[in-house]
């Protein structure tokens, strides 16, 4: 079946609809570096046409990490407006709490796991939520660095706009 990512150009800009996993074990969050582009993200990816966000994330976890993820509650729903690589983005994000099998946990190794999916290399790391690791991380979207160490216990709506409106 042909897959259609919900990411498309509009007037030379780009609309993205993403879903991501918040995986926290022993005070560490699992993050992913893709193709050494200098950015870190939470595991996840773009939602496909016709696909419910929850199913989409289970698929992405399986494809990227290669482990079965169990979805918890939706924690964050975000609308982000930002610019990267000379392109303006309008991005919707849904962030679910996800748990992995019990033996998937920080073990001192970095990267913890390296996988290949659709021509991309994914390097996974566990980053301590309470140390310098978070501040040194070039984690996108930016507001995650603030929010992850103090996650709200109920669904929270975030609007993040880094455009210069002046």
């Amino acid at each position: 079946m042909t897959r259609h990512m919900l990411s498309f150009p509009i007037g030379g800009q780009r609309f993205n609809y993403r879903v991501a996993a918040v995986i926290i074990v022993d005070g560490h969050v699992l993050i992913c570096d893709e193709n050494d582009d200098g950015f870190s993200m939470l595991p996840g990816g773009r939602v496909e046409m016709g696909e419910a966000s929850a199913l989409s994330l289970v698929r992405e976890i399986d494809e990227e990490i290669g482990l079965p993820g169990v979805l918890g509650p939706l924690l964050l729903t975000s609308e982000s407006f930002y610019r990267r690589f000379d392109q303006d983005f309008h991005e919707l994000g849904l962030f679910y709490r996800v748990s992995l099998p019990a033996d998937a946990r920080p073990n001192g190794q970095s990267p913890w796991r390296v996988t290949y999916d659709e021509g991309s290399e994914h390097r996974f790391h566990w980053v301590a939520l309470d140390g310098d690791g978070m501040t040194q991380l070039n984690l996108k979207p930016d507001w995650l660095r603030e929010v992850l160490p103090r996650l709200p216990d109920q669904l929270t709506h975030i609007v993040y706009d880094e455009r210069d409106n002046g």
């Binding site: 259609h4 016709g50 929850a54 729903t77 669904l155 609007v159």
Partner: protein, 173 residues
């Protein structure tokens, strides 16, 4: 005069159907919700419309209220985020919709006799508005969509509620 920036609605046709991104207003008064429809259709729905590129859903709701009702409303915090999958006129839809409670000025006409209380225009189409009772039976009798909102319109969540709704005979991939 400076040329207005181009407006781009977020809706996209792909081979399997249409993706659309909407923002809607939940306007409640005395056990009723304000609903609208185009005069050429039978389905009633919440005021609102498609989100434009670069526009937050909150701003989209504010804009749509002004366009459709000719007045400003006070927009509250996000109440419902709905992902729905349905077929309408032989076309499959994957729709994201963000719903906000909105308070209108007190002088907006309120009538409970089922008659039209307001008429407006949105682009090329004529709109009419009426107040529907919020119970599911009344919404169903009036062919109100989306059905996923039956049962939630009279008791709005304080914390945003996320709903995934798959229509009859549909499957989400």
């Amino acid at each position: 005069m400076a040329e207005a920036p181009a407006r781009h609605m977020i809706a996209y046709d792909l081979a399997p159907g249409r993706f659309s991104f909407r923002a809607g207003a939940i306007i409640l008064r005395d056990g009723h919700v304000l609903a609208t429809r185009t005069t050429t259709e039978t389905i009633w729905y919440l005021p609102g419309g498609r989100v434009e590129w670069g526009e937050s859903t909150r701003v989209a709701v504010q804009r749509e209220i002004v366009e459709e009702l000719g007045m400003s409303g006070e927009v509250g915090e996000l109440a419902i985020m709905l992902e729905s999958f349905f077929t309408y006129r032989d076309k499959r839809f994957h729709e994201l919709a963000y719903y906000y409670p909105v308070t209108l000025p007190d002088d907006f006409p309120f009538r409970t006799d089922g008659e039209v209380c307001h008429r407006g225009r949105d682009g090329e189409v004529d709109l009419e508005f009426k107040w529907l009772r919020t119970d599911a039976e009344s919404l169903r009798a009036n062919d109100f969509k989306p059905e996923a909102l039956y049962g939630v319109l009279y008791d709005l969540p304080v914390v945003p509620r996320h709903v995934i709704w798959v229509g009859d005979g549909e499957e989400s991939a």
